[in-house]
Symmetry: C2
Subunit: 216 residues, 2 copies
Amino acid sequence: MDEARNEPQRRSDGEQTHAAILEAAMRLASVEGLSGLTIGRLAREVGASRSGVFAHFRSKLRLQQETIAAASEIFDREVVRPGLDAPEGLAQLEGFCEAYLSYVEREVFPGGCFFAQLLAEFDAPDGAIHDEVVTFQQGGMALLEGLIVTAQRRGELAPEVDPGQLAFELYAPLELANYFATLHRDPTIVDRGRRAVRTAIASARLRDRTGSSPAS
Amino acid sequence: MDEARNEPQRRSDGEQTHAAILEAAMRLASVEGLSGLTIGRLAREVGASRSGVFAHFRSKLRLQQETIAAASEIFDREVVRPGLDAPEGLAQLEGFCEAYLSYVEREVFPGGCFFAQLLAEFDAPDGAIHDEVVTFQQGGMALLEGLIVTAQRRGELAPEVDPGQLAFELYAPLELANYFATLHRDPTIVDRGRRAVRTAIASARLRDRTGSSPAS
DNA sequence: CCTACCGATCGGTAGG
DNA sequence: CCTACCGATCGGTAGG
């Protein structure tokens, strides 16, 4: 009983520590940025030595990349999956937006949305992390565009709406709701985002000002 | 001619250096953030010693605050004044939005809008700079709200529109256009912001879905 | 996972 | 504005 504790469902101490470090890294990075992360700070946070923490990642870049991967799983669990849990079509589009706003409102990360932080932090500087941020943001836009196209096929959104443009017009209030709620320490600002999403979707439901008629 | 060069229109070497440091600080901060600014980096940039640079500000916080003040002047010159140069009313609201988008498109700062960078960087952390960011963002929102109220008084926007809400719905695409243009190194993304602004304003021009009639 | 160490850099000070 | 310095911390390595 003392030696053979290799049961796969039982995490080793090393894995637990590794996970605890990433947990702290996500929290800290959401507040102070991923560049502001230092190994010494993390070591203090989890009660280990600096090189003990370092040994888990062997470079700061890998620490940052693993932190992004861990945050990505949380984003999936807290936003993407609950959002897509709605019936296909417009309901899913609304579901995703609401899932994001709820995730901001519930303060899943103490410094607001981890990926909104990353967007602003790594929009300008070149490098491996910039490229990961591009991929993540393109994924978010592609997800929204896909939901919009489906809703159009189902006749729930006007066919002349440009999916990329509408995705941008939904993405924008989601992001700003995150920044403002964090800046003002006031989660109720998220309701501004909710109203903005409703307005944008309403205007895309029957946008036929040009006089062109639906295609199918 | 050699000694008496105290003409007021002639900047002293000290003032010139001071301005050059702030110039470099704004550029660097727009790319890598105001926390990423280091005195050593600035010293290299302007060709001075670290303590030579330091002597100009006497603390890092004051360097950061003077950098914000200098960027604020540029924002005024490049966005606020040209924006308000339009005739009073709706044209001014559209003018301000266009001035911001143009300022992003022209890459006035190499890392995108200085204050969008600040918003994301200091939304979560407490401190003197957080408080300055709150003030700046509230100023931006108040400016938009004021233009909206004026346009409503002139009958150019529907009276039942909530000025704070519409300001949020305009602010959002401005910010996202900045982040996306910077992230994708593609100023044409700013056109997405332009279309979003047009859509939001169009929907606020005759928003009378509820059936209530104009007040005056 | 630790101690002990590397060179570099940080913000800031002393003294001129 | 400079040189020279302070203690602290950085990312990373050696060796165990």
